[in-house]
């Protein structure tokens, strides 16, 4: 089953006091942030599996996972950032900026594609840094700061692509040195039992694992929860709030770089106007996954489940042979239901 990969780890059983006996492992499990999303994912899976015969076939699952991974990779960074109490509206176009940087730079100077890839990494981290730096310096809400970078990047993408490449699309870089190796790293498929699984799925799973470990088992994770939960309290006990926030924006930038490179090397060119609106998909995935909009609560696994729900709804409609126009409606409904379930489940579990 595809969705077993995204199951949350079982809650650790702690040696306890007789007074905590009332709180059974099931209740503990229900208190986790991603439960609402998990319930939604299971329901949606059963639903599409029953209306479409092809939905559960290995090839279809691989396609769904691929669709999920293109959202999920970004959702990892966006979830962490949301737990840290901030938003990033520039993520959708920042992905394209990263891809355009790599392609235009290496094409214009006829360099090895990897030079462009590395420059794109620097640019992506730089965009994250600038977002974070302006945020902590001006103390403006992240909504405003990243809305501004979103608009600026959208303009830069279009203007620079036309200026350098002379078209709305970046020129093809498939003839450049290093294209094939970069394609193999960012956009190849791996065959598992005869099923071609896109490499982004593995990037996605790896990133979720790393992010979960960081969040739950390192002090940086502790700081992320703290700056999102109460930044003043965190500062007062010596947490480097500024560094943590800037670091989170840079982590989002890193995720954007991976996805940007995939977008570029999956084909050989990028449309400069793409990416607008995708930032909401990443935020939706994080919110469906149980990340609190106000920060301080959530999980990386939750964001992954959110992305998986997105992937299922997106492809499931096609497999069920419905009109894809319905997709956005489904997404909205899922968002509403998942957040309501989250809210109810969380309140219930905390009262017990």
């Amino acid at each position: 089953m595809a969705n077993t990969a995204t199951l949350p780890p079982a809650p650790a059983s702690a040696p306890g006091d007789e007074r905590i006996g009332r709180r059974s492992p099931i209740q503990k499990f229900l208190g986790r942030p991603e439960v609402g999303a998990l319930v939604g994912a299971v329901v949606l899976f059963i639903f599409f599996a029953s209306v479409s015969g092809t939905f559960t076939q290995p090839n279809a699952l691989a396609t769904i996972l691929y669709g999920s991974s293109t959202i999920g990779i970004m959702a990892v960074g966006v979830s962490l950032l949301m737990i840290g109490g901030e938003f990033d509206l520039s993520t959708g176009v920042a992905v394209i900026s990263s891809a355009l940087t790599a392609s235009l730079f290496s094409w214009n100077f006829s360099l090895n594609a990897w030079v462009g890839v590395l420059l794109a990494l620097v640019v992506s981290l730089g965009i994250g840094f600038i977002n974070g730096w302006i945020l902590v310096k001006t103390k403006l809400p992240s909504f405003i700061v990243t809305l501004a970078t979103f608009l600026m990047l959208t303009g830069l993408n279009l203007a620079l692509t036309r200026l350098i490449g002379g078209s709305v699309s970046s020129p093809s870089i498939s003839k450049l040195d290093g294209f094939d190796s970069a394609h193999a790293v960012f956009a190849s498929s791996i065959s598992i039992g005869g099923v071609e699984v896109k490499i982004t799925v593995f990037f996605w799973i790896f990133l979720v694992a790393v992010a979960s470990w960081v969040l739950l088992r390192t002090k940086v994770g502790n700081w992320i929860f703290a700056v999102g939960g109460d930044a003043n309290a965190a500062r007062a006990v010596g947490v480097p709030v500024t560094k943590t926030k800037i670091g989170l924006f840079m982590a989002v930038g890193f995720c954007g770089w991976i996805l940007g490179m995939h977008n570029l090397f999956a084909f050989d060119a990028v449309q400069s106007g793409e990416g607008v609106g995708n930032e909401f998909l990443y935020i939706i995935a994080a919110v469906i996954g149980g990340c609190l909009l106000t920060g301080g609560y959530g999980s990386a696994v939750g964001g992954a489940i959110g992305a998986f729900i997105f992937g299922m709804a997106n492809k499931g409609i096609v497999y069920a042979q419905w009109n894809p126009d319905w997709f956005k409606f489904f997404l909205g409904l899922m968002l509403l239901l998942a957040t309501i379930v989250n809210l109810i489940v969380k309140r219930r579990a905390e009262l017990k």
């Binding site: 470990w213 088992r217 002090k219 109460d230």
Partner: protein
């Protein structure tokens, strides 16, 4: 007798400056001041903190208590006077600096993150780690065990350290914050209005923890606007009003009634009575206020005459 003379009287227990052999305080402020733009928030405040002693800072809202602790805790920097730690002049750039110098602050809002589990809050900013380099992870089990043990020693028997700290009662949260400061080797513990939002019983519990911290050898700065809470536990009392020190007393030089009278501000009551008189009418209310003014001034007069050369300084 002014504040400096008191400093000479109540010496640090057995502790001397290695060079000059004069006693030094754990922490001392000398004529410390702070202004925000052209607003003077604090001026000429002098006080000292010693091991195993409780220094109480009393004052009404806006008296400058918060500014004072923010200076000591490293959130703000003073721009006049001298702040000394163990006789060494210091100026803190960040709360981290102050923490490293052994000054821990338990804020009114407790500096806890309500949604986070107790153990994560306990170790926040000072997490224990194992492993090397990029694979450094938190030593979760050890941190949980220490949290349980430390809290048990403060007399709080917790059910589950995984509980979000927001679910604890105000008094319990206060104690977690105090236990955290004690565990991390604080030498000076600043408590910002720990009893302000608590009922009588919970306040009593917190006062007990203050004494417990004192008995462990910490120097405690207890900030409050309630003389009834300050008097039983305090060794020294600094009274602030409108950013200025209006008195600095040793416990043996002052009684609870005098402290209350100073806090209530006899002059202000007299002013209030005057205002009422001017407006006319409401004779009943006026009489009550006047009676109170008389009571307060009486106590203050007695206090002043019983102590020739009172330690009061303005």
């Amino acid at each position: 007798m002014n504040a400096k003379q008191i400093d000479q009287q109540t010496l640090l227990r057995e502790e001397k400056d290695p060079l000059t052999h004069t006693p030094v305080h754990l922490l001392s402020l000398d004529a410390v001041g702070k202004h925000y733009g052209n607003i003077i928030a604090l001026r000429e405040v002098t006080m000292a903190v010693d091991n195993g002693r409780v220094t109480c800072v009393l004052g009404d809202n806006g008296a400058g208590k918060s500014t004072l602790i923010k200076i000591i805790a490293g959130l703000h920097q003073h721009d006049a006077g001298v702040l000394k730690i163990m006789g060494e002049e210091r100026k803190f750039n960040s709360p981290r600096d102050a923490l490293d110098a052994g000054i821990a602050t338990v804020y009114q809002d407790l500096a806890v993150v309500p949604l986070m589990p107790i153990w994560r809050n306990f170790f926040l900013g000072s997490e224990l780690t194992t492993g090397f380099g990029p694979f450094k992870s938190m030593d979760v089990q050890k941190m949980k065990d220490i949290t349980l043990k430390e809290l048990a020693e403060m007399g709080i028997d917790l059910r589950d350290v995984e509980q979000p700290i927001g679910q604890l009662s105000g008094g319990e949260r206060q104690c977690v914050a105090i236990a955290r400061a004690v565990y991390f080797g604080a030498k000076v513990l600043i408590l910002d209005e720990p009893t302000a939002a608590l009922g009588v019983k919970q306040s009593g519990v917190v006062l007990r923890y203050i004494l417990q911290a004192r008995d462990r050898g910490l120097g405690v700065i207890f900030i409050t606007h309630n003389p009834h809470h300050a008097f039983p536990v305090g060794d020294r009392f600094l009274l602030l009003k409108r950013g200025k020190s209006i008195g600095y007393y040793d416990k043996k030089d002052i009684t609870l009634d005098e402290l209350t009278a100073q806090m209530a501000g006899g002059a202000e009551l007299a002013e209030l009575a005057h205002e009422l008189e001017q407006l006319g009418g409401h004779t009943q209310a006026l009489k009550e206020v006047q009676a109170e003014v008389a009571g307060v001034t009486e106590v203050t007069d007695v206090a002043d005459s019983s102590r020739e050369g009172s330690p009061r300084h303005a």
